[in-house]
């Protein structure tokens, strides 16, 4: 697995690749524990339930055995949070062992820089982890403080150094840096400094995610309008990021993601390709397709670790709710997702785009009859998305018709 001779076959962007060893299939594992909560965060995380960690991991193992029974081997596994890097390598290994995955599977762990050292990362590496994702957010102390983060740029440098020493220094075995732009008090120069510092890390990142700070309802940040990001400032910062990252050889492949060729995150690509995945852990989402009907089902688990543990350990399904997505809705969704990526959408889904007063500035032909977002278009993706018209598709209509007849 380490000596994968040709990474290209694994990172091909097309949803169906006859050369791929298996159909892509993902498993997401949610680790809902944090030492402190960032005030912009709306994820299911808790700072006061460390006493539940072992029970929780046991529950994940039970749930994985049940949920993945009969499922394909995972081609990607993603430990997200929360702060998964709070787990010791043996804890992580226990869960990963319960998630049946293919040889060469991408296994990502989200890490807070201040929670890792060379020993822990070597342990992760030995357990089968192939990819680290560092929650760096900024390389400017004042901005980190404004975001409520507890590490400093030096912690990032030493975490990255540890990652390099554990072997995470390339495309297939590497690390990602998560950044946030638009925090209160972050000047354009601060953002530039962050990008420069990240690109100067040793070993350098092969993947960067840059997210505009988003005000999520119900978060403490939502109640402080003075600290809300300015959209024009964010637009400027996005353009700067795109320019600097591209110049460093990381090209965009999804609105908020840049990577060196071959270093794209397969697990996340699965989401954007409308692929199938199973979520393990509280509040994790799953998505399975019924090949026969063409419709799909998406469901999500209960939100608290306590309830998740109780349900999983008593042999019950920990799901909270879900939705069925009919073929027509799937078509709309697939366009909305594809639009965000460099794969783009078929030209027919934006009929008359070239005569529209604004669309020619937002999308551009990318060959094979597809349109992709321009740099400005990425910033206004929602405006393009609501103009998408699912092209009349015989097969889908027939499928809908068949559904009607059969029901």
């Amino acid at each position: 697995m380490l000596d994968q001779p040709d990474g290209a076959t694994l990172v091909d962007m097309s949803p169906v690749d006859p050369m791929a060893p298996t159909e892509p299939f993902g498993v997401y594992v949610h680790v809902p524990f944090c030492t402190s909560r960032c005030d912009y965060c709306a994820f299911a995380t808790w700072t006061d339930r460390f006493h539940l960690v072992n029970d929780y991991l046991d529950a994940c193992v039970i749930d994985a055995a049940r949920s993945l029974d009969g499922a394909p081997l995972a081609t990607s596994v993603f430990f997200g949070g929360g702060t998964p890097s709070l787990l010791e390598p043996d804890q992580l290994a226990k869960v990963l062992a319960a998630v049946r995955h293919a040889d060469g599977a991408e296994v990502t762990v989200e890490c807070n820089p201040e929670t890792v050292d060379a020993t822990k990362l070597a342990g992760y590496r030995a357990a089968g982890v192939t990819r680290l994702s560092f929650g760096v957010q900024s390389m400017v102390p004042a901005v980190l403080a404004s975001l409520g983060r507890h590490h400093d740029p030096a912690a990032v440098a030493s975490a990255v150094d540890a990652a390099g020493r554990a072997g995470f220094d390339g495309e297939q075995l590497g690390y990602n840096v998560d950044l946030i732009f638009g925090a209160a008090g972050e000047s354009p120069a601060d953002w530039e400094e962050t990008l420069l510092a990240v690109l100067a890390l040793d070993p350098p990142p092969h993947h960067v995610s840059g997210y505009g700070l988003t005000v999520e309802p119900g978060t403490p940040l939502a109640h402080e309008p003075d600290r809300h990001p300015d959209p024009d400032d964010q637009a400027d910062k996005y353009l700067l990021a795109d320019q600097m990252l591209s110049a460093a050889g990381l090209s965009w492949y999804e609105i908020s993601n840049w990577a060196r060729p071959g270093a794209e995150c397969r697990h996340n690509q699965l989401y954007w390709d409308q692929g199938e995945y199973i979520g393990i852990g509280c509040s994790a989402h799953s998505h399975r397709v019924d090949a026969e009907s063409g419709s799909a089902r998406r469901w999500w688990n209960v939100r608290t670790p306590d309830r998740y543990i109780r349900l999983a350990k008593s042999g019950q399904r920990p799901s909270a709710a879900g939705e069925d997505i009919n073929p027509q809705a799937r078509l709309v969704e697939s366009l909305q997702l594809a639009l965000r990526t460099r794969a783009g959408v078929p030209e027919s889904s934006l009929p008359g785009w070239d005569e529209d007063p604004v669309l020619p500035e937002l999308v551009t032909p990318a060959g094979s009859g597809r349109l992709v977002l321009t740099t400005n278009g990425r910033l206004l993706a929602n405006e393009v998305a609501i103009r998408l018209v699912p092209a009349p598709c015989d097969s889908v209509e027939n499928e809908v018709e068949n559904l009607r007849l059969s029901s």
């Binding site: 959209p231 609105i255 996340n268 405006e383």
Partner: protein, 619 residues
């Protein structure tokens, strides 16, 4: 309010246990008809309450505050809109208290109420002195040749200064200071003396019982169950139950269903003779057929002529009313129809706005009237309304010699067809402490007022009289007056003809497309300011689009103000992973729906809320 009045009426009928004095035996010499003239808050309602108590008309235990103000809005705002009338007995006399509306918008109704009286009680706050509107009404009472009983109220207040204000009254109205009564309606002190003074000083009515009937209607309201209920003063002849009446101005005949008096309980009677005041119900469905000032006479034996002084009240202020929800248009129409049954002075005509859809251009007696009508429509008919900026009526003289009445900026003829424009003027009377003279003169001049006269009422108080365009008063003049004088100045006005003015129509354009709802007619000197304010306001209200949107104010083709809503640069979800996909789809659906609900002005999408806000701030 209909429901509320009906409740009041029922209650009154139930209470009508007391036997009424047989009317034929009522001696003209013992009748006193009077109106209490007072400024808002000077204690008229409290005095009325005290009189009802003292004369035994209402038991103390049945007493509720401001007994005669029956509308919710009246109680809340502390003003009387619709007059209420009551008959009380005092030491062998029959006194009719005729209530008058307490606001400048209803000046005509005041004059009709005064026409039903032989005297007025001029009620003045002993801590504040006479106010502009009271002064106007007192002058009006003098013109009607009515006896004035001046009273200083609230002498119990620490700030009361009755000597000073008595001297002031003597100066401005020529009433001897030593004849001015001093009372406290709140404690009841001096109220009995006031009743005595009324009986002594106000003359009895004169009238010929044998002459053909002439009855003056001085107020009407619509009751859901009884139809129109009118207040009537018999001048000559007899008003007899069951008789067929002719309403002389309306030109209609109706049979009397019921006549009666209010004590304040409604007591049906067989007839009302000269000098008497009571109520009349004649199966009328529309208050427009029994307006204030109407003369009723016997159909069988009609009077030769109607009583003098009838006027068709003309609306002075206009605005467009639009339902926030387009579906509510027919509900709004129905509500206006119903409201007009009760308030004939409201006018309305269907109107279409490119920006606001279907609505009505409505006419009102004044700004307060406008506010009250709008509030009643929203409250009583459960409507949510957008009101356009208030405007006045203009007369456009065209080059071909014809005259066009303009109630709405969109009706203004093209500049090249215009010979001249006339606008309505007011004579405004302002009473103010002298320290504010400078700032008020500045205000009046800024609003194109011309001084008519300036007179000291006392060393501390001043009367300023200006001739001023109505349009300037309609634009928050009253608020400006109050804020410049810390609320101490008072204002009254009356129509004062028409005058030519250099008026222009200002258009507001979004991305080059005019928006009718924001057009306005203004004096050329004020056009720039209006344009600047409106464009600035719209810049903050119109959401950013995918392109720069110029907002311009223009006169004809000339741009006088400009702002730009900069193009939107960012509208994207940062994250879209497993847990975000459903949410993202729903968000986009919502965004798409919201887009459908926007009004399109050319290429610009404007949410309804932006129109509402832009026009709301205008008030």
């Amino acid at each position: 309010m209909v429901a509320c009045q009906r409740r009041g009426l029922d209650q009154n009928y139930r209470r009508a246990g007391r036997a009424a004095t047989p009317l034929s035996e009522l001696n003209l010499e013992n009748i006193r008809n009077l109106s209490i003239v007072a400024h808002v808050d000077h204690g008229k309602s409290t005095l009325s309450d005290r009189v009802l108590e003292l004369t035994g008309a209402v038991d103390a235990r049945d007493m509720r505050e401001q007994y005669l103000d029956s509308m919710d809005i009246e109680r809340e705002r502390g003003i009387t809109i619709k007059a209420q009338n009551v008959r009380v007995r005092w030491k062998g006399h029959t006194i009719h208290l005729i209530d008058t509306p307490g606001h400048v918008d209803f000046g005509y109704e005041v004059s009709r109420s005064l026409a039903a009286c032989e005297g007025v009680v001029l009620l003045i706050d002993a801590a504040q002195g006479i106010e502009a509107q009271t002064l106007t009404n007192a002058y009006q009472a003098l013109e009607h040749d009515l006896e004035i009983v001046a009273v200083l109220n609230k002498i119990d207040l620490p700030a009361a200064d009755p000597d000073r204000y008595a001297a002031e009254i003597e100066k401005v109205l020529g009433l001897p200071a030593d004849e001015i009564l001093r009372i406290s309606a709140k404690t009841g002190a001096g109220v009995a003396d006031l009743l005595d003074a009324i009986c002594e000083r106000i003359p009895p009515p004169r009238g010929d019982a044998a002459a053909p009937l002439q009855g003056l209607i001085f107020d009407s309201y619509y009751d859901q169950y009884r139809g129109v209920v009118s207040a009537v003063r018999v001048m000559h002849g007899r008003l007899v139950s069951g008789e067929r009446l002719r309403f002389m101005q309306a030109g209609r005949t109706h049979d009397v269903e019921e006549i009666g008096i209010r004590t304040p309980a409604s007591v049906p009677v067989a007839e009302l003779g000269p000098g008497e005041v009571g109520y009349l119900i004649a199966g009328i469905k529309d208050v427009g057929e029994a307006r204030s000032g109407e003369t009723v006479t016997s159909a069988a034996r009609p009077a030769a002529a109607a009583l003098e002084g009838y006027k068709d009240p003309k609306p002075m202020v206009f605005c467009g009313l639009y339902p926030v929800e387009g579906d509510d248009f027919s509900n709004l129409r129905e509500a206006l129809e119903k409201l007009r049954l009760n308030d004939a002075s409201v006018t309305y005509e269907p109107e279409t706005s490119g920006a606001l859809g279907f609505g009505f251009r409505c006419g009102f007696l004044g700004l307060l009237h406008m506010e009250i009508v709008r509030e009643r429509l929203e409250r009583e008919f459960d409507l949510s309304l957008i009101a356009t900026a208030p405007s006045v009526e203009y007369r456009a003289h065209l080059t071909d010699g014809s005259v066009v009445e303009v109630h709405n900026p969109s009706e203004m003829p093209e500049p090249q067809k215009l010979e001249s424009i006339e606008e309505p003027y007011l004579q405004a009377t302002i009473l103010t402490p002298t320290e504010y003279t400078g700032t008020l003169m500045e205000l009046c001049q800024a609003r194109r007022g011309e001084m008519v006269r300036m007179e000291y009422l006392s060393p501390e108080r001043l009367e300023l009289v200006y001739r001023i365009p109505l349009a300037e008063v309609v634009m928050d003049f009253f608020d400006a007056l109050k804020s410049r004088t810390k609320g101490y100045a008072s204002l009254d006005y009356e129509p004062a003809g028409w005058d030519q003015a250099d008026l222009v129509k200002i258009d507001v354009l979004l991305n080059g497309v005019p928006v009718d709802a924001f057009s306005a007619i203004a004096h050329r000197s004020a056009a720039q300011e209006y344009g600047r304010r409106m464009t600035e306001r719209l810049r903050s209200l119109i959401p950013r689009q995918l392109f720069d949107v110029p907002i311009q104010a223009a006169i004809g083709g000339r741009i006088i103000a400009r702002e730009t809503v900069k193009a939107k640069r960012k509208d994207v979800l940062a994250k879209c992973y497993g847990g975000d996909i459903t949410r993202k789809r729903k968000l986009l659906e919502k965004q798409k729906e919201g887009k459908k609900r926007m009004k399109n002005i050319g290429r610009v999408e404007v949410p309804q809320e932006a129109f509402i806000q832009a026009l709301r701030l205008e008030e």
